[in-house]
């Protein structure tokens, strides 16, 4: 089996992969947001597994969440209640949006898992003392994890973990950059599956796998055959778990060369300083990486970040890929659109309920957008 297949398989069946890890004797903790401190979980000898939920029927979750809840929260709750996540030892809820905040309560009150933790991150990233607060919060989380697992997480384990995550993140960044230079080297849907899988796969093996994967890509075996005259696009939003979307864009003469997604570049953005106190260093990354809209760095931080990403990667247009009922992203959209259009970067919006909008509608929309670029 080549490396790519490992990634595609994990991305396709995250729960199956997680159950396998558990069967091998490693405890597994789930999380559904990029603010979860994976490095600390990993240093405790626990496998951090990002949860993506289900897009199918959500019968169980529907009796806890009203219809006006985003499909991510609903879908993940469904898998917790319908037995799909039976192998899980617990979950970690970082504080971000109002929906996750309530999902955390509902989860705590209704699921059978052994371990549960809220990690109440600061919302403000603009104050020095918010860093101290986050450090203290991460220390609390570390203590909770230690109490549960029964063993101390020492600095050496944290340092190893930091090294592992730094390397994996760097390789994902390399992959994105390689593809930004040469979008034909591998298809967009595969790239999206690779990033997704990197939140699922055994993290100790991840840096090695990514290196081999990069070699496979460099060897040209995954070339798409498409020419380089396609329109260069950036996708922005919370998450996009729809590989078909990327193929659709590519069939219409576009190509996604970069993204601002929490299941994309936001997941590997930011480096953890390996020197000094490890928990402090982990905290610092959250202040330095590009923020999600549920955090406040400044009133214009996200707009500036998007414009600079667009410039750096020669992006010709931005597609906002937003989940319906996702408030933080919906609030930012009108301003981002105005700001970017003033900089001559065209944008379009695609709102996704649980599945993609009907194919005809979506194709027309994308086609028109790509055509006008």
């Amino acid at each position: 089996m080549n490396e790519l297949d490992h990634f595609l398989e994990a991305a396709d069946q995250p729960e199956r992969y997680g159950a396998g890890i558990k069967a091998g004797g490693t405890p597994v903790l789930g999380y559904l947001c990029s603010y979860a401190p994976e490095e600390i979980i990993h240093a405790a000898g626990v496998h951090p597994l990002r949860l993506f939920g289900t897009l199918e029927s959500t019968l169980h979750a529907d009796s806890h969440l009203q219809a006006y809840c985003c499909s991510l929260a609903r879908g993940v709750l469904e898998t917790a209640l319908d037995g799909t996540l039976e192998f899980l030892d617990g979950a970690v809820f970082p504080h971000t949006c109002d929906t996750i905040q309530r999902l955390s309560d509902i989860w705590r009150l209704n699921t059978p898992f052994d371990f549960f933790a809220d990690v109440v991150h600061p919302v403000r990233l603009d104050a020095g003392f918010a860093r101290e607060y986050l450090e203290d919060t991460l220390q609390r989380f570390k203590r909770e994890l230690e109490a549960w697992s029964g063993s101390k997480i020492d600095d050496a384990a944290l340092a190893r973990s930091i090294e592992t995550f730094n390397t994996a993140r760097k390789r994902l960044d390399d992959l994105y950059r390689m593809r930004s230079r040469d979008p034909g080297c591998i298809s967009g849907s595969r790239v999206s599956s690779i990033v997704k899988a990197s939140m699922i796969l055994n993290r100790d093996e991840l840096p090695g796998r990514l290196s081999r994967l990069l070699e496979e890509i460099e060897s040209g075996r995954y070339r798409t055959g498409a020419t380089d005259d396609r329109k260069r696009l950036l996708v922005a939003g919370s998450l996009c778990d729809h590989p078909d979307f990327y193929s659709m864009v590519e069939n219409l003469g576009g190509v996604v060369v970069w993204d601002d997604l929490c299941t994309g570049s936001r997941a590997f953005d930011g480096f953890i300083d390996p020197s000094g106190d490890p928990v402090k260093a982990i905290a610092r990354r959250y202040f330095e990486r590009r923020p999600c809209p549920s955090k406040h760095l400044s009133n214009t931080a996200r707009a500036e970040a998007l414009a600079s990403m667009a410039e750096e990667h020669g992006v010709q247009g931005i597609i906002f890929f937003l989940l319906k009922f996702c408030d933080p992203h919906a609030f930012d959209y009108p301003y981002l659109k105005e700001y970017l259009e003033a900089k001559n970067i065209p944008v379009t919006l695609i709102e996704v309920e649980d599945s993609l909008p009907p194919e005809g509608q979506l194709t027309t929309r994308l086609e028109t957008f790509i055509y006008t670029l």
């Binding site: 009796s63 806890h64 969440l65 009203q66 006006y68 809840c69 504080h95 971000t96 949006c97 109002d98 929906t99 905040q101 309530r102 999902l103 955390s104 309560d105 509902i106 705590r108 009150l109 209704n110 809220d118 109440v120 600061p122 919302v123 403000r124 603009d126 104050a127 003392f129 918010a130 101290e132 607060y133 203290d136 919060t137 609390r140 809209p293 549920s294 406040h296 009133n299 214009t300 319906k324 009922f325 408030d327 933080p328 919906a330 609030f331 930012d332 959209y333 009108p334 301003y335 659109k337 709102e351």
Partner: protein
């Protein structure tokens, strides 16, 4: 049965203080709208935000949420929300935010918009929405924004949160001193803190009178009289007002005057009011001889009472503001509701599933289950967007209320 027949003859004597409320609020908005002439600065602040330092510094606090309630009550929410949607804001966002953002640009609404802010204060102890909303305002008005970040207390109020919030109290004072170019007078601050607590105590006492049978006021009356504890908390005006209102309520209790003439059933309301249907809902329930005697919204402004220390306001408000009703876990919210249900001896729970307000509404199904299990009382769920009247289905709501009341009648 037509609405007319149902409501005929069910009017109780009106609350005399209604008129006073109108007078005070009119005066307040006139003062706020002419602030520039009187050389005062205006701060827009969230309803759960720490307003007392503003009062102590002579800054006029203005509440977009109270404005939102007025927009809703005058049924102008739908049009404003539609304008916000035309500006690109999703129709699924909080309708306070949508109508306020639109009104900021168009000066639409019942009072021709709010006075321009000199600063913005957003406290996220009620939701994350206010932060996003105030970022929009800060960009539009180009004025400084202070975000008061109160970490969610899912189960506890941790030491590190305490430190973090206290640091922000100091930073907040420094922010106000910088924007106004004045120093905070700490004696004055103490005094304002005292008045705030006194006002809250009177307001809680007013709500407590609803424990009597018949109840002298309903939650719907409360939604109207609530305005001062939101907007003028920390002033003598609010203290005097609630003292007088309390006297009137006690008098009604003594005379056996109920807000609903034939009060047979007592209900508890959860979530924000449906502002454009207050009267309709109130009549609807009254026609079933049901009084909504308690609710989780009016009391939200008294919750900090248990954490704020007399004579140590500025320091202890950190905890008071952080442990607000919405900033706690769903199980604690359920406990609060169950406590209230017992205190006010209610026969049923009416939950407003408010599409505008996710932090208030998600978890309601679980609360409902806990209430059913622990108290065995029926629960009703009504869905709407609290100030966007386009989202409301009158026929459906009516049927559900009738069925719910039928259930309650059969249990009695």
């Amino acid at each position: 049965m037509t609405d007319d027949k149902k409501t005929r003859g069910i009017q109780s004597p009106p609350i005399a203080m209604d008129a006073k409320m109108k007078e005070i609020m009119t005066g307040y908005y006139i003062e706020a709208k002419t602030a520039a002439d009187s050389g005062k600065q205006v701060a827009w602040i969230t309803s759960g935000g720490p307003v007392e330092p503003l009062i102590a510094m002579d800054i006029i606090p203005v509440y977009p949420e109270n404005h939102g309630a007025m927009i809703g009550a005058s049924k102008m929410g739908g049009a404003l929300c539609e304008q916000a949607e035309a500006m690109g804001y999703s129709g699924d966002l909080c309708s306070y935010a949508r109508s306020d953002i639109a009104s900021s640009v168009t000066n639409g609404g019942p009072i021709g918009g709010l006075p321009r802010p000199d600063m913005l204060v957003a406290c996220n102890n009620i939701c994350g929405t206010v932060m996003k909303w105030y970022e929009v305002l800060a960009r539009y008005f180009d004025v400084p924004l202070f975000i008061f970040d109160t970490p969610m207390c899912h189960t506890d109020y941790h030491e590190e949160s305490k430190r973090y919030v206290k640091q922000q109290v100091l930073e907040y004072v420094a922010f106000l001193e910088q924007v106004t170019g004045k120093k905070l007078d700490y004696d004055r601050m103490d005094h304002v803190g005292k008045l705030s607590l006194e006002g809250q105590r009177y307001w809680q006492a007013v709500l407590d009178t609803a424990a009597s049978r018949p109840s002298p006021l309903t939650a719907f009356d409360g939604f109207y009289h609530l305005a001062l504890i939101v907007t003028l908390r920390g002033t003598q005006v609010a203290v005097d007002y609630y003292r007088d209102l309390l006297a009137e309520m006690k008098d009604r209790v003594a005379k056996g005057i109920g807000a609903v003439p034939n009060e047979h059933y007592r209900l508890l309301w959860d979530n924000l009011p449906i502002w454009y249907r207050l009267k309709w809902l109130s009549n609807k329930f009254a026609a079933h001889d049901a009084a909504l005697v308690a609710d989780t919204y009016n009391t939200a402004w008294c919750r900090s009472l248990r954490y704020i220390e007399d004579g140590n306001f500025l320091d202890s408000m950190a905890e008071g503001y952080t442990r607000m009703y919405l900033n706690i876990g769903v199980d604690q919210m359920a406990d609060t509701i169950i406590e209230m249900a017992e205190k006010y001896s209610v026969d049923g729970l009416v939950m407003h599933s408010n599409r505008s307000c996710k932090p208030y509404s998600f978890g309601q199904y679980d609360i409902q289950r806990m209430v059913r299990e622990r108290l065995g009382i029926p629960c009703l769920l009504i869905e709407s967007h609290m100030v966007d009247e386009r989202s409301f289905s009158e026929a459906q709501t009516e049927t559900r209320i009738d069925a719910f009341m039928e259930l309650i009648r059969n249990r009695a």
